[in-house]
Symmetry: C2
DNA sequence: TTGTATGCGTTATCAC
DNA sequence: GTGATAACGCATACAA
């Protein structure tokens, strides 16, 4: 390249990076050579030289949850504003996959990471955060000092349960994705939502009934299963709060399968406001999270942290919204 | 690192890469130093040296379509088998974003690319393919010589339309995502599906009615909109084939909105078999694609191509399956 | 304004 | 078995 342009590599670097102090003649020669060779500067050399890659990785438990994909959109927006690119890593909630990709941050292939969920123990997460710029988004361990952005899960769950109570319901079930047996659950938010649910109940002097709490996974099937069990109870609940829309939609289907009408026979509330929520019949009452902003803000924190180097301990809480639709009356 | 281990960098490299010919003493010294410094070899240097990154990029029109996410799962499986990692790029069907990420392949940051859709002109795609290892998956321009893997879209659409006809339907509408005005549509498959639909019709001597063909976008809303228009026709169709499940589900909702029963009043067929298809009521009749295999095979072709360097022209067609569920009787 | 030389962190070649 | 050393492609300090 330097040869065909007839100038030194230094000059080439200068024109490519639009540095001042290059004669028009030289610039023209370089431009011509670039054209001729269809030349593209290698990122490999550049990265090694400046020892950062302008790449960040985001860990996502599953790419197929539309909730997360909207959050990622916000991350991308902020990232692009700052010339960063994103690697999305679908961990499928598997520890092994997550660890494999964490290598990428330890070997400096990415400048930082955002976790939308993690199977890491708190201790591991702390150690990672001490050495590299990372932030947590939506899901986070609240016992540790890693920057994060989220909504107030406890409060949101409290509000939606309260909504159910105001409608006159007393037998309100919870379907969650927290198995509780596992001390370090993937879904800390689920636990917070359970707390909010319980607070609303106790505030209204409704005794929490352990039979009404079903613990499964974060998907349709699990919601379906749980709802079927709930409906077989001798004293079946008249309302259900599911900690995620996917779960709630499964529950909705289970009701229909048993010939029950929603919300007449049983009211259903979800959480997240994924796009499917408006497509089911009836449309789902849920908690809307500011998905885009969540991602945008998380990326902002990360970029800040990459720039400063210092792991400032920040927790950002964004506003949620109770969206009342057809599944609750 | 070399200093604290008390050996040369060459030796360090040897033990890290488990090369033969290292004394136990030296190996121990290196191991100790690694432990001490929490040392991780930099991928940056390694990449520069070997001039490849073991990274491939996959272009996806939207991360939130669960159809694509399952395909990506297959890609990841094959990639991991061969020590490759994946960058997922959500292009949002935007040319600008796609072009930005194509830089990554031109500047050798990734070893290859898979396109699950593309806004590139055929000419651009050809040129790219001549210079870099790329393959197309699911969506592809069939007029050019880029390796690809897909199902037989025309045939699948033919079969599902035929299914509708066998049920006695004669007024069969099509809702597609191909706008036809745009010569190089993102969704070539949509065009093929339209062809299959038309072939089935003409084979059964049913005159294709242009009024029955609606052209919109690849999402719920668009299906809803199109269906509403269809239902306002003086002679409304009794069956609808939507070229994607997301569209079909929108159509389903539109029917319900007008008080119509599915499949009694109008039958609906989709395409893709996304996970949500079984959650709607009634569950959706559709064409199931071997999503995982599609991705797996595409990655296989790509890795082959990266290895050989020569762009062998291969088209792989996988089997689909007609899945009859509740929306057609 | 331009070129030369150096280093980023690896791996590979060669000599010891 | 081991250690210098060159090279990968770039950006920069310094010299010219």
């Amino acid at each position: 390249m330097a040869r065909v342009a007839g100038v030194s590599v230094a000059t080439i670097s200068r024109v490519i990076n639009k540095k001042a102090g290059v004669s028009e003649l030289a610039a023209a020669k370089v431009a011509k050579a670039i054209e001729e060779l269809d030349y593209q500067p290698s990122l490999l050399g550049k990265n090694l030289r400046r020892s950062h890659t302008k790449l960040v990785i985001v860990f996502i438990p599953t790419i197929s949850n539309t909730f997360f994909s909207k959050v990622v959109l916000g991350m991308e927006a902020k990232a692009h504003e700052n010339d960063y690119n994103i690697i999305i890593c679908d961990t499928r909630s598997e520890k092994a996959i997550e660890h494999k990709y964490i290598e990428l941050i330890r070997n400096r292939f990415v400048d930082g990471a955002i976790f939308l969920s993690s199977s890491l123990e708190s201790a591991e997460m702390i150690k990672l955060s001490q050495n590299y710029p990372i932030v947590q988004c939506c899901e986070f361990n609240d016992d540790i000092d890693v920057p994060c952005v989220s909504i107030d899960n406890e409060k949101a769950a409290y509000e939606i349960t309260k909504h159910l109570i105001k409608l006159g319901h007393k037998k309100i079930a919870l379907i969650t994705a927290d198995d509780k047996l596992n001390a370090s659950s993937m879904y800390h938010s689920a636990r917070l939502r359970e707390q909010g649910y319980k607070r609303a109940l106790s505030e209204s002097k409704i005794r929490a009934n352990e039979e009404y709490i079903k613990r499964g996974k974060y998907n349709f099937k699990s919601g379906q299963l749980a709802m079927n069990e709930l409906l077989e109870l001798k004293s079946a609940p008249t309302a259900v709060f599911a900690v995620a829309d996917t779960i709630a939609i499964g529950a909705l289907k289970a009701c229909r399968g048993k010939g029950l009408e929603v919300p007449k026979d049983v009211a259903i509330a979800g959480f997240d406001d994924i796009s499917f929520s408006t497509m089911v019949e009836p449309p789902l009452t849920t908690i809307a999270q500011p998905q885009f902003d969540l991602g945008y803000k998380a990326m902002e924190l990360l970029i800040e942290r990459i720039g400063s180097g210092t792991p400032q301990r920040r927790k950002v809480i964004l506003e949620h919204e109770l969206v009342i639709r057809g599944t609750t009356f």
